[in-house]
Symmetry: C2
Subunit: 143 residues, 2 copies
DNA sequence: ATAAATAAAGATATATAGGTCTTTTTATAT
DNA sequence: ATATAAAAAGACCTATATATCTTTATTTAT
């Protein structure tokens, strides 16, 4: 449903949000530990998130990751778009090329509805909101 | 959303259903042409479908693929289960190992709902039904 | 029986996703 | 200024999904 890298990214960003609220800027090591992701790989995908402006980073002693305030609200849609490409929301169903409703694939009618709900959901869910759930103990970042 | 092989499989089976209803047993070549899939690869995944009992085959002159009547109704759930594994329906959200609602990941609450709808949809959609849509011109198998 | 048609099997190739390791650059505390 | 801590960059490695090609086994028409 979501690529592994996207799963990691969401959890990482939620953790950063929580830490930021407490005035801390977690580094790659902290993140990897907290979300149970491979450390080296964590560096790689954090680099990607930074390059795409989803989060910011500071090198050097005392550095780490943090949010630029003007990216808010940071919803999952933005993250999925960067990591999975817009094909995730456009291309669907049976994988035709030029998908339109004029010559739909056999599953179009019902499928498009579920797809739309997922789209709406990813728009509604924000890193800030998810972080709140975790802080309130309603959700966890690793198992 | 669905692996490419699953997309191919669904379209192939819908085509076979239509042909069967007209008393024909299409072969790999016909299928590949009709659903716009690579011919050699089509042989491979048809082999897989046959091995898992989703469809039957006859070798030799006049052979081809056809349905055993006692697999009906053949819904998409069965197909997805074979090709993507049951993880497709179980494992979800942020990819935790032991997923339960006691210690949910941050997106659990809303995500599980969409997931369930998809599950229900795949149960409702059958090869027979989809074939009907195609026959009525409400859907097409390739573009 | 033989030839033709066809799926099955298996070996191989290619692309993409996922992951690791090493080196370089940058920032800051001292 | 220097040492240290941290992210960035880039070269690799590995596994999986996707795809192709060649050969073999099976069925049926003749
Ligand atoms: S569901 Fe609709 S948009 Fe998606 S592949 Fe099928 S026809 Fe195209
Ligand atoms: S949505 Fe629920 S079941 Fe799915 S990964 Fe999150 S906690 Fe687990």
């Amino acid at each position: 449903m979501l690529a592994k890298i996207t799963e990691y990214a969401i959890r990482a960003l939620v953790f950063i949000e929580i830490q930021n609220q407490q005035g801390a800027r977690p580094g790659v090591k902290d993140i990897a530990r907290e979300i149970a992701s491979p450390e080296a790989y964590t560096g790689k995908f954090m680099q990607l998130l930074t390059k795409h402006g989803l989060v910011r980073s500071m090198k050097g002693r005392g550095g780490g990751f943090f949010f630029d305030q003007n990216i808010r609200p940071l919803n999952l849609q933005k993250i999925v778009l960067v990591l999975e490409g817009e094909a995730y929301f456009n291309k669907c169903g049976l994988g035709f090329n030029g998908c339109d409703s004029h010559e739909p694939c056999p599953i179009h009618k019902d499928y498009i509805r579920v797809k739309q709900e997922l789209f709406d959901l990813f728009e509604k869910l924000t890193i800030e909101g998810l972080a709140n759930d975790v802080k309130k103990g309603l959700a966890v970042l690793k198992k």
